[in-house]
């Protein structure tokens, strides 16, 4: 089907959904928005800011000062503008995804364009948080924008987008190194033909400095916007110290609810540092196709982020559509799909049983987050296996691939 027909139709469909009364029921759902991305908390922060109270003096508001100053000045946040804004953000994300695909496949028009846009815009994991007006939709759009700019070699735009993204969500700093490498290399699909990294890595050093400059400027302007440094502890600090134990589909909240007080700082450190371990090995292994490394790191983020929502795995799963060459080599696609289906049914059910119905307890929901963690991990492992296995190609009968 023609992309020029499919894309507007998808956007119109999304807009109709966004204008429906669904968002009111969804906006406080723990699966769709975390304390760091909740719409109610964003509104509370804006209200406090406009009434002369520092919203970062309390523990409710944990959004970036950039969002605060944006929405409290020239972009009012109300039930009329919000559906448009969140739909626009998703449209930008889907459009970036299609652009990345076009750059990667090297053709300007491709029959898969419409499918890729649909896989983002109709993915329930990204659709529902967007309907709940969770700012994680903005984070997804920024992720894809910065990757898209990097693929097209627009280094400044890409680094600026990443700097804004890091202001909104600290764990996304994981993407910095692969993004720098992506800018200096090409996004062409080489996942089937491993080779050593060709481009000059020294070129990435000035880019790193550029990112530092952007980040410093944004940090300073955020500080200027809210008057003092209290926002650092409340926004970035939350991703490291986990002060709010509101349930989410991730692995952190119940672990630190049940953690012994004297071990809490140690495990907070372990959980935070643990995410950094994956960056270098994945970049080295997939040095021939850095976009694939970026994709895998988004999977790591979706699995190990302190305050994930459904849109983080949603982004990872939607990006899978960029790599059709690996589909044949996925290790256990059926198991992974069933795990995801299992988790997608259990999560809302057990959340409801525990907190609304009162007939289940916290372990029900915890168990379903473990299943969801398994599903995300399985998807990550599948993609990683496929990305490595594809280099060997088709095998004759009686032969099998093993690891030494």
């Amino acid at each position: 089907m023609d992309f020029n027909v499919v894309f507007p139709a998808l956007v119109a469909g999304r807009l109709v959904l966004a204008l429906s009364p669904l968002p009111v029921d969804l906006k406080n759902d723990h699966l769709l928005s975390s304390p760091l991305t909740s719409y109610s908390r964003l509104q509370e922060g804006i209200y406090l800011f406009q009434h002369g109270t520092n919203p970062y003096s309390g523990g409710i508001f944990r959004h970036s000062p950039l969002l605060l100053s944006l929405f409290s000045t020239f972009l009012p946040l109300n039930p009329t503008t919000s559906p448009l804004l969140w739909t626009a953000s998703d449209v930008v994300a889907a459009w970036s995804l299609v652009k990345i695909w076009r750059v990667r496949s090297g053709v300007s028009h491709n029959p898969r364009d419409g499918l890729i846009a649909a896989l983002y815009l109709l993915n329930p994991y990204t659709l529902l948080p967007s309907l709940a007006w969770s700012t994680s939709s903005f984070e997804n759009a920024l992720h894809l924008l910065s990757l898209m700019f990097a693929c097209r070699g627009q280094s400044s735009a890409s680094l600026l987008t990443l700097a804004i993204l890091v202001q909104l969500s600290l764990p996304s700093i994981l993407l910095l190194i692969p993004l720098l490498l992506l800018i200096v290399s090409e996004p062409i699909s080489r996942v089937a033909a491993p080779r050593t990294f060709i481009a000059d890595t020294r070129k990435s050093l000035p880019l790193l400095a550029e990112f530092a400059v952007y980040s410093t400027c944004l940090t300073l302007s955020a500080t200027l916007a809210c008057g003092d440094w209290s926002w650092v502890e409340k926004t970035w600090g939350a991703a490291l110290l986990l002060p709010d134990l509101t349930p989410n589909p991730g692995l952190w909240w119940y672990f630190f609810t049940e953690m012994f007080d004297h071990f809490r700082p140690f495990f907070l450190m372990v959980f935070s540092v643990h995410q950094l371990i994956y960056v270098i090995p994945i970049c080295i292994t997939f040095q021939h196709d850095i976009l694939y490394a970026c994709y895998l790191l988004l999977g790591v983020l979706a699995l190990f982020k302190p305050y994930p929502t459904l849109s983080d795995p949603g982004l990872f799963l939607s990006m899978l559509s960029l790599f059709p060459e690996t589909f044949a080599y996925l290790r256990h696609p059926m198991v992974t799909a069933l795990l995801h289906l299992h988790a997608a049914l259990l999560l809302p059910l057990f959340h409801h049983l525990w907190l609304i119905q009162g007939t289940g307890n916290a372990n029900f929901f915890y168990a379903s987050t473990l299943v969801f963690g398994m599903a995300n991990g399985a998807a990550l492992l599948d993609s990683m296996w496929a990305g490595l296995r594809i280099a060997i190609g088709e095998l004759k009968e009686d032969f099998e691939v093993v690891q030494e």
Partner: protein, 534 residues
């Protein structure tokens, strides 16, 4: 008794100079209520004449030695140790029904423990450190869990809790610290140390009526300690006990007749010799067609007055309604006794969010303004942007004016909301606000976690818009109105699970970590698996 004049003479000779600077007065107010109950208010006031407060700046050096005759030494030491200017501690059980009982004699009737103090700044030890010391010392003195009134419950609501005495004019300013613990209950173990602070203990005088068996059986009861500084007089300590007793419940014939013996199971047989004045007053304004014995010494604007010094024979005041065979409860409470009626409820069914709802009715034919105070621990988090007011279904957000708001910090700091509400005459204002229920660490839950958490009462201070033509009550000093406490049901984790959760989460992470590094580090190889040789 032949020895009494001599004893008193000896006592006055011995204590003469001291008695001149310390003045002890005791009183009992009894108020028969419209619903057959009797409100009793005991007050024991000791005035330390000409006393000066300890300047916080002198906290670094040693204090003067303290010698008191009537003033409670244990309390005096605490006050000087932490240089507290004004102190109010109340421990109450039950919720005061303003509609049927009117204003209480002591305004502090919030459920549970409430402690507030005005403390001078400027010392080397900070106000917060002294506040911590103060509440721990009082916890020890009164055997109450006041140590739990920590920074998670401490606020500074200066608009509602204004000083009742004077604040000395020191170089550094004074600061208010206020905290409530609604789950704290008052019991005999609090009354015993309370009685020890009285010069006559419970041996003689009005204090001899303080019989714990009857007081703690009352429908409502509470004790209070109030210390204030009066510029020209000195330091005043007022120990107060209030109770709402139900004679209908005690009476087999279901009559509302009462006497001191039927209410307290005691009579006053001796007067307290050191009391400067000792008076029992019976408020007769709410009842009629009664008879009261013995004949009061005087009747001052609807109050029958009985001085307790000197006593020739045991004093037992009794009141009965000869025309009544059984007491008929009033069907509907006639006109409410306070200008405002307030209902405060927590709505919603989930454990993740809800709605706080207030229904405030102004009974007066004139517009009223009222201060509205919430000192909410972080166990309930307000969404202030959803605060809306309604009258008869129409939104009237202009009637609510938020003065100060301090947002709560999880695990650290409570919320403080001070607002002014404008109430049109004879109208009902409905105030709603969305709230979020936080999730606690497993160590933060109390032993009986499923019971829920008691939340402190809201406090209203009505004051009239115009000084003309309003209730006399309002024209006097504004009085606080406490709402009943709330109970919030917070989600609980499984308390038996810490090891299991640590093990299972860590297993999942280790599984992913191991699998990923397995894939990333080991080389792929093609092997022949069929039966046929290669």
């Amino acid at each position: 008794m032949w020895w009494r004049p001599k004893f008193c003479l000896l006592l006055s000779l011995y204590l003469g100079p001291v008695l001149a600077t310390e003045l002890f007065e005791e009183g009992l107010n009894l108020r028969p209520l419209r619903d057959g109950k009797v409100a009793a208010h005991f007050s024991f006031t000791t005035l330390l004449k000409g006393a000066t407060l300890r300047d916080p700046q002198s906290l670094a050096s040693d204090d003067d030695s303290q010698h008191y005759t009537l003033f409670p030494l244990a309390l005096g030491q605490i006050l000087r140790e932490y240089a507290v200017t004004e102190l109010h501690l109340t421990l109450n059980a039950g919720s005061w029904d303003y509609n049927r009982w009117g204003y209480p004699d002591e305004p502090g009737v919030g459920t549970g423990a409430e402690l507030w103090a005005w403390i001078g700044d400027g010392a080397t030890i900070s106000v917060d450190q002294r506040w911590q010391g103060l509440r721990n010392a009082l916890a020890g003195l009164f055997c109450a869990s006041l140590g739990s009134l920590d920074e998670q419950r401490t606020t500074s609501p200066v608009l509602t809790f204004t000083p009742e005495g004077n604040l000395p004019n020191w170089t550094a300013s004074h600061q208010l610290r206020h905290a409530t613990l609604p789950s704290e209950h008052v019991c005999t173990e609090n009354l015993t140390p309370f009685l020890k602070l009285l010069p006559c203990k419970s041996l003689s005088g009005i204090a001899s009526l303080l019989n714990p068996h009857r007081l703690f059986d009352a429908d409502w009861h509470g004790l209070g300690v109030h210390v204030r500084y009066l510029q020209d007089e000195g330091v005043e300590v007022r120990l107060a006990f209030q109770a709402v007793l139900d004679p209908v419940r005690y009476s087999p014939a279901r009559r509302r007749d009462w006497s001191l013996r039927s209410l307290f199971d005691r009579v006053i047989s001796t007067a307290c010799p050191v009391a400067h004045s000792s008076v029992i007053r019976v408020d007769l304004s709410l009842v009629n067609s009664y008879s009261i014995t013995p004949t009061p010494t005087a009747v001052h604007d609807n109050h029958a007055v009985y001085p307790v010094v000197p006593i020739e024979q045991p004093l037992d005041i009794a009141m009965d309604w000869p025309a009544e065979t059984t007491f008929q409860y009033p069907l509907v409470s006639a006109s409410p006794l306070t200008p405002l009626s307030i209902q405060r409820t927590l709505k919603g069914w989930g454990q993740s969010d809800g709605q706080l709802s207030l229904v405030i009715t102004n009974h007066l034919p004139v517009p009223l303004q009222t201060g509205y105070l919430e000192t909410m621990p972080w166990l309930l988090q307000f969404y202030l942007h959803t605060l809306h007011a309604q009258i008869d279904g129409t939104t009237r957000d202009d009637l609510v004016k938020v003065i100060t708001y301090a947002a709560p910090v999880p695990h650290a700091q409570p919320a403080l909301l001070q607002a002014v509400l404008t109430l049109p005459p004879r109208s009902t204002l409905r105030l709603t606000m969305d709230v979020a229920k936080p999730f606690l660490r497993y160590t933060e839950h109390p032993p009986d976690a499923q019971r829920g958490w008691d939340l402190p009462p809201a406090v209203f201070v009505p004051f009239s818009l115009d000084s003309m033509g309003t209730d006399d009550v309002l024209r006097a000093r504004p009085t606080r109105i406490y709402t009943p406490a709330l109970l919030v049901d917070l989600a609980t984790p499984d308390f038996s699970m810490p090891y299991n959760v640590i093990i299972m989460s860590c297993t999942l992470i280790a599984l992913m970590f191991g699998s990923i590094f397995n894939l990333l580090t080991r080389k792929f190889a093609v092997v022949h698996v069929g039966d046929a040789p290669q």
